[in-house]
């Protein structure tokens, strides 16, 4: 089974590679599924300057890291992101795709549904637990409608991860150097069908809000509840 974790590009930091907490949860689940029968791949859309999360994923134990070369994913609508990543996921041959909940730059959490739509895959949001049942099926735990449910999901599937694995598993240390990050260029003829619809993000407006400093719990509550 090919398990792919979609990571976001964190703000570029020349000093330290960082992984968003939501992405770390998704990566934790992927690694917890165990090696052997599964190949785990980390996927990211962005520039080479934004590949830090892929390096971290390789260090954590994924077998493969792939970057879709794109200059401005941060300002791209989720439909386009979904289409781009779906092209890469088809290339990789993904069976199970994991993403952080609301981990895109806009904080929407909509790109995974767009990926699922373009892949023709199942989509389940807010997953807390994953267990592989067979090569084509996983069991997941998700909440909704006042119930905590265990669901059997046929693959391919895209799951957004809302909580960490119950038993994080460390993979054995890699012997030798980690593999190089593979690149899928946007000049790929298959990717040129992508049509950006950035207007769907909405019009940008400045948010000029200052920070009020207080010195007691009562003052904090009063300041927050002020209308």
């Amino acid at each position: 089974m090919n398990v792919v974790v979609c990571l976001r590009a964190p703000p570029p930091d020349p000093e330290v590679d960082t992984l968003a907490r939501a992405d770390a949860l998704a990566l934790g689940h992927a690694l917890a599924l165990g090696a052997g029968d599964h190949q785990t791949t980390a996927l990211l859309g962005g520039t080479s300057m934004e590949a830090g999360s892929l390096r971290l994923a390789l260090a954590a134990g994924v077998e493969r890291a792939v970057r879709v070369a794109a200059d401005d994913m941060a300002g791209t609508d989720f439909h386009t992101i979904g289409q781009l990543l779906a092209i890469a996921l088809r290339r990789i041959g993904a069976d199970l795709v994991l993403t952080g909940a609301r981990s895109d730059d806009e904080g929407l959490g909509a790109a995974p549904a767009a990926i699922a739509r373009h892949l023709g895959a199942n989509y389940v949001a807010g997953v807390e637990e994953i267990a592989v049942v067979s090569a084509g099926t996983v069991d997941v735990v998700a909440r909704g409608g006042g119930r905590k449910r265990r669901l059997r999901v046929k693959l391919p599937a895209v799951l957004t991860i809302a909580a960490g694995p119950a038993a994080p598993r460390q993979r054995p240390p890699r012997t030798g150097a980690p593999p190089a990050i593979e690149v899928i260029p946007l000049s790929d003829p298959e990717a040129t069908v992508v049509r950006r619809r950035t207007e769907l993000l909405g019009r940008l407006e400045p948010a000029s809000r200052g920070v009020e400093t207080v010195t007691s719990a009562a003052a904090l509550v009063a300041a927050l509840d002020r209308r």
């Binding site: 907490r21 989720f78 909940a101 609301r102 730059d105 806009e106 904080g107 929407l108 909509a110 549904a113 767009a114 699922a116 739509r117 199942n122 989509y123 389940v124 949001a125 807010g126 807390e128 998700a142 909440r143 909704g144 409608g145 006042g146 119930r147 905590k148 449910r149 265990r150 669901l151 059997r152 999901v153 046929k154 957004t160 809302a162 909580a163 960490g164 619809r197 207007e199 769907l200 993000l201 909405g202 019009r203 940008l204 407006e205 400045p206 948010a207 809000r209 920070v211 009020e212 400093t213 207080v214 007691s216 719990a217 009562a218 003052a219 904090l220 509550v221 300041a223 927050l224 509840d225």
Partner: protein, 294 residues
């Protein structure tokens, strides 16, 4: 809003009770669209409910599709947006505007406003301007008001079961965190502060205020869009709440805070940690009880 028709979409496996229809009418619905089909009374999933919701939405060609906080928004909203090519907002405020636009004179407009990730800016979504529907999840804590009539029509859409059984329920139990996404006020506590912090603060919190451990309730926090958020200790704050909401933080020592991350900050020395502080915070939360909380 002049000229707007409000449809309430209900999914069920049977006819809905007259009392439910009356309640939806009182809340402002002009009409109910009942998607009736096997399995639709179960909690919503894209695999089981997505096609039915799409059928209902395409029948009325809406400008806006709104999900309540704590509802099926994250399960169905993004996939509906992907299916129909709509915009999406995971936590948004609904605003009426009289600003000039492409519509005929006298027709009011509604727009949505959401945070851009990390509270860097707002995004304003006007379905007329972008010429696509907008799908959004609203913030928790809006008090119900009687604004409409109890007597409204119900249109029934017969929904066939989805082709192929791709997702099925194996077991289910009551969700002990179901109240968290419905809370008007969410207090998220860093587990590194110790279990006593959540216990003591929660003991004094009034109804409508959820006090939760950041890790243990991560899924419920991710599904939340509260009106007011208070983060205690190291809690990632991005994508929580709506622009109309307020965000506060209680930090210890010289813990870093990203720019524009919060509206109100209380910084304490690390030596202040302890039961006395948790009790003070819990007691302060009682001020929220005077508000109309749901």
């Amino acid at each position: 809003m002049a000229g707007a028709t409000v449809y309430a979409i209900v999914m069920s496996d049977r006819e809905i009770a007259r009392a439910v229809v009356a309640r939806l009418g009182r809340a402002g619905a002009d009409k109910v669209l009942l998607c009736e089909g096997a399995g639709l009374a179960a909690p919503a999933l894209d695999a089981t409910h997505g096609a039915a919701l799409q059928a209902a939405v395409e029948r009325v060609a809406p400008l806006l599709v709104l999900f309540p906080a704590g509802g099926a928004g994250m399960a169905l909203g993004p996939s509906l947006a992907a299916r129909i090519g709509a915009a999406f907002a995971g936590a948004a405020d609904l605003e009426a505007t009289d600003a000039a636009g492409p519509l005929a004179d006298g027709v009011g407009r509604v727009v949505l406003r959401r945070w851009r990730g990390r509270r860097a800016a707002y995004r304003r979504l006007d379905p007329v301007e972008i010429e696509r529907p907008v799908i959004a999840i609203l913030a928790a804590g809006v008090a119900a008001q009687q604004v409409g009539s109890e007597v409204i029509d119900v249109d029934v859409i017969a929904c066939a079961p989805p082709r192929g059984n791709t997702t099925s329920e194996i077991s289910s139990e009551p969700d002990d965190a179901a109240a968290i996404p419905l809370a008007r006020v969410l207090v998220a506590v860093d587990p590194a502060l110790g279990p006593e912090a959540v216990t003591r603060i929660a003991a004094a919190a009034p109804p409508g205020v959820a006090v939760v451990d950041r890790n243990r309730s991560a899924a419920a926090i991710a599904a939340s869009a509260p009106e007011i958020v208070i983060a205690i200790g190291d809690v990632e704050l991005s994508a929580m709440g709506t622009p109309r909401g307020r965000l506060g933080a209680i930090l210890f020592g010289d813990a870093a805070l990203p720019p524009r991350a919060v509206d109100v900050l209380w910084r304490l020395p690390a030596t202040a940690l302890g039961d006395e502080l948790w009790s003070e915070i819990g007691e302060a939360l009682s001020a929220f009880a005077s508000k109309d909380v749901s």
